[in-house]
């Protein structure tokens, strides 16, 4: 046992490696499974990027431990097996640091959206490298000073700052999470976050203890073997726990496999439990001489108009109107749900290049993106005015002479048993050539 304690390759080592390999397999399976099942196409969202980075970070952390703390019997170390690559770069900035930073970014985004009710000032792709910088700097310093011995261990004057850096990131994650504790999250984000923190703090505590033991007590063989066994096993658990406890939005978090009712729901508004209590008038009572924005509050009319707009490839404005209308049904005193809905609408319709970007001016867009209160009742009113004008000038005229209106009228007549005649209809000059799916945006998925 004494020999394998230093050279590597004890039975317990292989057990630990097998354990970590198994945990990695589970990790990847969990990450890819939702994509195979739900065939999600939301790969563009920033949440997706963070998940991928987390996977990479987890993998790096585990492999760095295996490579740096002689689990395997390696007689001649090649250049790529060098301590500084694995024990420093892969364990720090590319492993543990990356993993923690991802979580901090997520918690920070939640903090901004729900506590400050603003869009985060920094995009995650800028923020993430920024908070990774201390890790990179630390790794570079160690690499330059080369304090490691031949077992990839450091002396205590190095171990203490290294452990402190690890601890600092855990502490800041706990700190940001504490700021969120008053928010009643709709989708158990806070539960996830706090559970994640409990599990990971325990395993981090254990992990740090074993790390210190492993680094400092090189002379006690059994301690070496035991500590490195614990090190890898707890790291595997940490990685798994960290990943499974997802912190993201409902529709974007198909990553999390927990059976939650909203996974089956199609729209954000139904996920948020907004009931349709729109004006359900008898259609026959609809006075088509009223202004368009008033007519659009009528659910059936809105749907008919939306179908028409979709057929002219101009549906996004109506879909946007529809979702903002849903948002307006959420009471003002329920800011959390309002923030959810607002964030969802912004990501889908407002951000430049988004899935169903609407045709609004630069200023209006910037106003929304720079808002100081995501729950504000008039957040989208400027853009709604612009779009209603756009719809009025472009589509309204053609709608009254379209098949969609005829159908709508017929249905409403049937409903009211009226015997009014629809006369004098010309057919719309809009698209005869484009037939097929009503929603032009649904095509886009087919191309991928």
């Amino acid at each position: 046992m004494a020999s394998c304690a230093f050279a590597g390759g004890c039975p317990s080592d292989y057990v630990a490696i097998a354990f970590s390999a198994a945990s990695l397999i589970v990790l990847f399976a969990r990450a890819t499974y939702p994509f195979l099942v739900h065939k999600v196409a939301s790969t563009k969202s920033s949440g997706f990027g963070l998940v991928i980075i987390q996977l990479v970070g987890s993998f790096n952390l585990l492999i760095s431990l295996v490579m740096s703390i002689n689990f395997l019997k390696i007689k001649h170390r090649h250049q790529w097996q060098e301590c500084y690559i694995w024990a420093v770069w892969f364990e720090g900035p590319l492993g543990f640091g990356l993993l923690m930073s991802c979580r901090i970014v997520q918690a920070f985004q939640l903090y901004y959206a729900f506590v400050k009710r603003q869009l985060p000032p920094l995009r995650s792709r800028i923020f993430l490298p920024m908070i990774l910088l201390p890790w990179i700097a630390g790794a570079a310093l160690i690499h330059v000073r080369k304090p490691m011995n031949r077992w990839c261990h450091m002396r205590s004057q190095w171990v203490i700052p290294v452990v402190c850096l690890h601890g600092l990131y855990v502490a800041s994650l706990v700190g940001v999470t504490r700021a969120l504790r008053h928010i009643e999250f709709r989708f158990h984000e806070f539960d996830d976050l706090s559970q994640g923190i409990t599990v990971s703090s325990i395993s981090i505590g254990l992990w740090v203890a074993t790390y210190i033991l492993n680094e400092l007590h090189e002379d006690i063989p059994w301690l070496q073997v035991l500590s490195r066994f614990l090190l890898l096993v707890t790291a595997s658990i940490l990685v798994l726990a960290f990943f499974s406890l997802s912190v993201s939005q409902p529709l974007l978090s198909q990553m999390s496999l927990r059976k939650r009712e909203h996974l089956e729901l199609k729209t954000m508004s139904s996920a948020l439990g907004i009931r349709d209590n729109g004006i359900i008038l008898r259609t026959a009572m609809l006075d088509i001489n009223r202004p368009l924005d008033e007519l659009l509050q009528h659910t059936r009319f809105r749907q008919s108009f939306m179908a028409f707009a979709d057929s002219c490839l101009a549906g996004e404005s109506l879909h946007f109107y529809d979702e903002v209308y849903e948002l307006s049904k959420i009471p003002i005193n329920d800011p959390v749900r309002r923030v959810y809905m607002a964030r969802y609408i912004i990501e889908k319709y407002i951000v430049a290049g988004s899935e169903m970007e609407v045709n609004i001016s630069h200023r209006t867009r910037q106003e929304i993106l720079g808002t100081l209160d995501l729950a504000h009742p008039n957040l989208f009113s400027g853009s709604i005015i612009e779009l209603i004008r756009l719809i009025k000038m472009n589509l309204a005229k053609d709608y009254w002479s379209s098949m969609f209106y005829v159908k709508f009228k017929e249905e409403s007549l049937k409903e009211s048993d009226g015997n009014e005649c629809v006369t004098g209809l010309e057919f719309s000059p809009r698209l005869s050539a484009i037939r097929g799916s009503d929603n032009p945006f649904h095509h886009d998925n087919d191309f991928h």
Partner: protein, 392 residues
Amino acid sequence: MLSVVIESMGLLCSRQRSVNEADNQENVQAAEIERRIAQEVKAEKHIQKLLLLGAGESGKSTIFKQIKLLFQTGFDEAELKSYASVIHANVYQTIKLLHDGAKELAQNDADSLKYVISLENKEIGEKLSEIGSRLDYPHLTKELANDIEILWKDAAIQETYSRGNVLQVPDCAQYFMENLQRLSDVNYIPTKEDVLYARVRTTGVAEIQFSPVGESRKSGEVYRLFDVGGQRNERRKWIHLFEGVTAVIFCAAISEYDQMLFEDENKNRMMETKELFDWVLRQPCFEKTSFMLLLNKFDIFEKKVLKVPLNVCEWFKDYKPLANGKQEVEHAYEFVKKKFEELYFQSTGPDHVDRAFKIYRTTALDQKLMKKTFKLVDETLMRRNLIEAGLL
């Protein structure tokens, strides 16, 4: 986003018309449907598909309206009347833009005093700005028209208007402001010219079928023309129209070299047009599609180029003014034209060389000029057809 569209384009173009194979014999109904489709396709075959493309506010819809006027029945009275509200909306929006713009410039600009609205007009300004932010505009009465006229003539507003390039003021501003009395008439019916000037931001797609049958010609070609929105979010819809296009009529507003995009005020409109033209040219769908490039808004260009040097735009920064007056206008126009020509040949791969490319100098508002231009486009496309059929 562009890259996604490009990617999907390739797939769209290479997709073949699916043909029922074994099912045909078994299912007579299917065969019947197939036959009808084939018939329809045959009937559609002689219809040539034209696309109007270009960035936002480049004049696509104006050309669309011209076609309606020139080769179709034009606008009947009801249609003309329906434009009154659009024109009034243009007026209210313009005056609000100018008023708010003046206020902003008075606060921030170095030479801020120029932009301070005179005391007696301040109240009018506030009132009009409030009206301009409403969803439904009031009817344009004589009193309102007078207020607007007073404010328009305010020195600060005029100063602001001269800085219109940073404010997204529509091109029709001056024309409508000068005609306010007529526009506010109780029995106002927009004229053809008013309709052409009216600014409507297009969303989605509109189409029109026409045949430019001249006085002398018997059987003109039948064209189907598609008009689209030009803002970035609208462009993703274009790909639905890209198949089987005879010619792309690409509009480039050459007067907009010192203006920023409506949808992104950090981007110069001319630079956007350059990138857009390049992107359209590289579409695999357009390998055999003719390109008619309309260098539009020449009327504004010839005035602007004498005041604002062409080289404020990054693309034209190697431009050197030559003379003044008419000569300078020609010189500047030729320079711009050459830039677009170079771009065309750069973006046209060696396998696309057999497509036709023509550049026209246009002012979409000018009916005579547009008629002439369309005649030329028509001739070019006819010739093209004959060549393809091996008759020339």
